[in-house]
């Protein structure tokens, strides 16, 4: 495409290599002024890498960047900021124990003489911005005390404060409720009307359809072309992104729920600061049924799982597993009671990354006599066992049992965790954010495994911040808000807006 001043940003022939791996292979991007331009691609396709190059965090090995028709060299974020580029990262770049104002002015402070901060003037400047764009943000609040939606607005303010004309939003909706997403889309259109240009990175098709004018697609580092969103469909975008036709729905037969496997009554759990995160919560999960918990991050999901797995103490209430008390026991007791858990953060809770793959497969079961007599651990047996799992669950690369777990891709790491959890034939499988950061193929695998485990007769508790996932996979959907279950529905009896309302603390008429 030709270089022209009609375009806010043009990136041509961008190549980026990390060692032997080519992350971006001659990728193009042409963003018209005053439009919302989406960049679509799977996890690991290279979207974020491309934007990090535009923002000066990485340097491209080949290619050129143009802004308004002029070639620019962006070697660091300062340059990017000078050229009017602002970026809102997927994981917010906010200092948690700073106030909103401090976060916004950081690096471009309002100072009197000799670098002494003038916080009053800074606050006024921030307030002026807040008023101009109609954001609902308290400049004196600390980041750790405000909602995720507000934090995102602070990130946008940070960019606007620096005079950004082009805003990059990296997966901006990952952590928002449907209502907050709507509000964000409103904000985006408002910004366009005020002359800004927006680039959003996402793998969510629906939002592209709702918000974007054009959409560039990247598959495994290769540019797949640009699509006019108005004349396209979700299915077309999806097949371009993945490179084959994908099944966007989950295949499963109706559930045949059996006896109650997990019974929670009046459970209250405090976090380490002593604040109640789970508040007298009741929940039943039956054998042969998938119960999905919908909710926004931070509404007690983590504490609920921690209490069931006995990582933290419950304040009051009971957790029973097949009628047997499990409240305030040990993680070991939890496992022995027939509970297996796919943790939300696999690097933190699920895996010992410096261990070999084979060592990771027996984290719970290394004490079994099967893996060595007495105090010894039989590494030959470990390897043999792991080879079986690798075959059965198609963990790649094949024959990776002696490799370090850290060397596997995210999807294969998740497969290794699922293999480990499923082979213990649990009566209750807890899946907390099981598809976080996975690509479409791996997501399909995870969902199929959950359904297969259900059909084996296990009870499944699925907790996810992705509303679509909860709606697609669960037989029963429960909504958690402020540490309580505020509604329970059979699949298909509730729509997205109703759930979103409950998730945000509203009530159904």
């Amino acid at each position: 495409m030709e270089v022209s001043s009609d375009y806010a940003v043009q990136m041509h022939g961008i190549v980026k290599r990390f060692g032997a791996y080519t992350a971006l292979d001659h990728v193009d991007l042409d963003v018209r002024k005053q439009t919302v331009h989406a960049i679509l691609g799977e996890n690991g396709a290279g979207k974020t890498t491309l934007m990090n190059i535009l923002y000066g965090l990485y340097q491209a090995d080949e290619g050129a960047i143009f802004m308004g028709g002029e070639q620019v060299a962006i070697t660091n974020p300062n340059e990017a900021i000078k050229h009017g580029i602002g970026m809102v990262h997927q994981h917010f770049m906010l200092v948690e124990n700073f106030t909103v104002t401090e976060n916004i002015i950081l690096g471009d402070e309002v100072c009197g003489a000799a670098g002494v901060l003038d916080m009053r003037k800074a606050r006024e400047e921030v307030m002026a911005l807040v008023d101009e764009y109609g954001f609902d943000v308290d400049p004196d609040a600390k980041i750790e005390d405000i909602t995720v939606g507000m934090q995102q607005r602070v990130e946008i303010l940070k960019a606007l404060y620096r005079g950004a004309e082009v805003l990059i939003l990296d997966e901006p909706t990952a952590v928002l409720t449907p209502q907050e997403i709507e509000k964000l889309i409103e904000i985006m259109h408002d910004l366009i009307a005020k002359g800004k240009t927006i680039i959003i990175i996402t793998h969510k098709l629906k939002e592209i359809m709702q918000s974007a004018d054009e959409c560039s697609i990247i598959r495994r580092g290769v540019y797949m072309g640009v699509v006019d969103v108005k004349h396209s469909s979700e299915t077309e975008l999806a097949s371009k992104m993945v490179g084959r036709n994908v099944n966007l729905t989950v295949d499963k037969t109706p559930a045949h729920p059996g006896d109650v496997t997990l019974e929670i009554r009046g459970l209250t759990v405090k976090d380490e600061r002593g604040i109640e995160q789970v508040r007298s919560l009741d929940l039943d999960v039956r054998a042969g049924e998938i119960v999905g918990i919908a909710g926004i991050d931070g509404n007690g999901q983590q504490e609920l799982v921690d209490a069931i797995t006995n990582l933290v103490r419950s304040e009051s209430g009971t957790i029973k597993m097949k009628g047997v008390e499990l409240t305030n026991k040990t993680p070991r007791n939890t496992f022995e009671a027939g509970i297996a858990t796919i943790p939300s953060d696999r690097h933190r809770w699920g895996l010992v990354l410096p261990f070999a793959v084979s060592e990771n497969t027996v984290l719970e079961r290394h004490v079994d006599a099967e893996f060595g007599a007495g105090i010894t651990l039989d590494y030959a047996k470990l390897r043999e066992y792991t080879r079986e799992l690798i075959e059965r669950f198609d963990i790649r690369p094949n024959g990776c049992e002696d490799e370090r777990m850290s060397g596997l891709s995210g999807g294969n790491q998740q497969k290794a965790i699922i293999a480990r959890m499923v082979t213990s034939k649990p009566d209750l499988l807890i899946a907390f954010q099981p598809t976080r950061g996975l690509d479409v193929g791996a997501i399909e695998f995870v969902h199929k495994t959950l359904v297969a485990e259900r059909d084996r007769g296990a009870a499944i508790l699925l907790i996810s911040f992705e509303l679509d996932e909860v709606m697609d996979v669960s037989d029963t959907i429960a909504v958690i808000y402020h540490g309580k279950i505020v509604g329970t529905f059979a699949q298909g009896t509730v729509d997205e807006n109703q759930l979103g309302l409950l998730m945000a603390g509203g009530e159904l008429k």
């Binding site: 990354l353 410096p354 261990f355 290394h366 010894t376």
Partner: protein
């Protein structure tokens, strides 16, 4: 160049580079202070390996730092920093002395009892630090250092106490001879022994002029045992899992707290054994008034780091450091070079082992140069 690049990425290369840089820094310091580095290194080598007696002493001096090295290495493999080996060693010497003075059992009983006392002392101190970490989350480095100083003053307290102080001396009473672990200790002083040794000069020197004892053999056994525990047992598996990722270990049902205490208990016990073996194996067979830290624990850390915290690797590393330290004393005698030059050398070596990136950094340089050359060659080929 590919071979060089691969070598530079190996752990051995990292150790070798660290040692070479350490010696280089020492040479620079020596030159700038007006000494002859070649002569100094010569005196060092001679002082360490010049006579059978010297070589024997190198092994004797290697014993405590091999054990404290294994202690540090073991703890490190389980995610803990045992900077308290020094204090555990001191407590080991204190308890071994107290028990060795108070009890006088037949030798086959006395020796194990005295050694065990040292192990218990070190283990208790180690476990205390482990407990503080597991229960209160206090970083083991700070508490260990505090415990080192408490052990230091405890030693002086025991030395000066009415019960144990040997009058008119700077030390406590020596332990009963039934605690001695010298090789052929009584035979070499008997008439038959003396007569035999008259004929074999090197053996006479080794046996009579040094405190050759079983310590180094025991230390090697411990190193092998610890290596086995770490890599071939369920206990070692759990300890390493806790060391690498505490959260994942807890999540999968492994008790993090008890493993931390256990790890420090074992590490402390090994350092305590080092102290006990020093009492039973070498003169003066007792504790003396301490003026400054003697450095057995700190040198153990150097041993562990240069060995990449592999217990077996500590064996050659301890011999090397022992040669440096022991040989370094003769540098002072021969040339008047302050023996602190050895501490500078060792400190530099440890500093460079702390830089995990240093050898790979050079490896990257080599690789870049190779790639640049290949690119250039390719371009030439293309033009042709």
């Amino acid at each position: 160049m590919r071979g060089l690049e691969k070598f530079l990425r190996s752990r051995f290369a990292a150790a070798l580079i660290a040692v070479l840089v350490g010696l280089l820094v020492a040479a620079v310091v020596l030159i700038s202070a007006g000494y002859d580095p070649i002569a100094s290194f010569g005196a060092l080598l001679n002082g360490a390996f010049g006579k059978p007696k010297y070589i024997t002493n190198v092994f004797i001096k290697a014993t405590p730092i091999l054990l404290t090295g294994v202690s540090v290495a073991f703890a490190f493999k389980t995610g803990l920093f045992n900077i308290g080996a020094e204090g555990q060693y001191i407590v080991g010497t204190i308890l071994a002395t107290i028990v060795g003075v108070s009890l006088n059992l037949p030798m086959p009983l006395q020796i194990p009892v005295v050694l065990f006392a040292g192990v218990v002392g070190g283990a208790a101190l180690g476990a205390f630090v482990g407990w503080l970490k597991a229960r209160f989350g206090i970083h083991e480095v700070i508490t260990s250092i505090m415990c080192n100083w408490i052990a230091f003053y405890l030693c002086n307290f025991v030395v000066m106490s009415d019960t144990f102080h040997k009058p008119n001396s700077q030390s406590a009473f020596p332990v009963n001879p039934s605690s001695y672990t010298m090789i052929l200790g009584s035979w070499k002083k008997s008439d038959a022994g003396k007569e035999f040794l008259l004929g074999v000069k090197w053996l006479r020197e080794v046996l009579l002029k040094t405190d050759l004892n079983v310590g180094f053999l025991v230390a090697i056994l411990v190193a092998v045992l610890i290596s086995w525990v770490l890599t071939r047992t369920k206990l070692g598996y759990e300890l390493r899992a806790v060391g690498f990722n505490r959260d994942a270990a807890r999540f999968s049902g492994i008790s993090v707290e008890s493993n931390i205490v256990l790890s420090m208990l074992i590490a402390g016990g090994i350092s305590g054994l080092a102290g006990a073996l020093a009492i039973t194996g070498t003169s003066p067979h007792t504790i003396t008034l301490l003026a400054a830290m003697e450095g057995y624990g700190f040198n153990g850390m150097s041993v562990a780091f240069i060995a990449g915290c592999a217990p077996i690797g500590c064996i050659p590393a301890s011999i090397m450091f022992s040669a440096l330290i022991y040989g370094g004393m003769s540098v002072q005698q021969a040339l008047g070079v302050p023996s602190d030059i050895i501490n500078i050398t060792i400190g530099t070596i440890v500093f460079f082992t702390a830089l995990p990136g240093i050898a790979p950094f050079f490896a990257d340089r080599v690789k870049q140069r190779r790639e640049a050359k290949e690119l250039a060659n390719g371009a030439q080929a293309g033009e042709a």
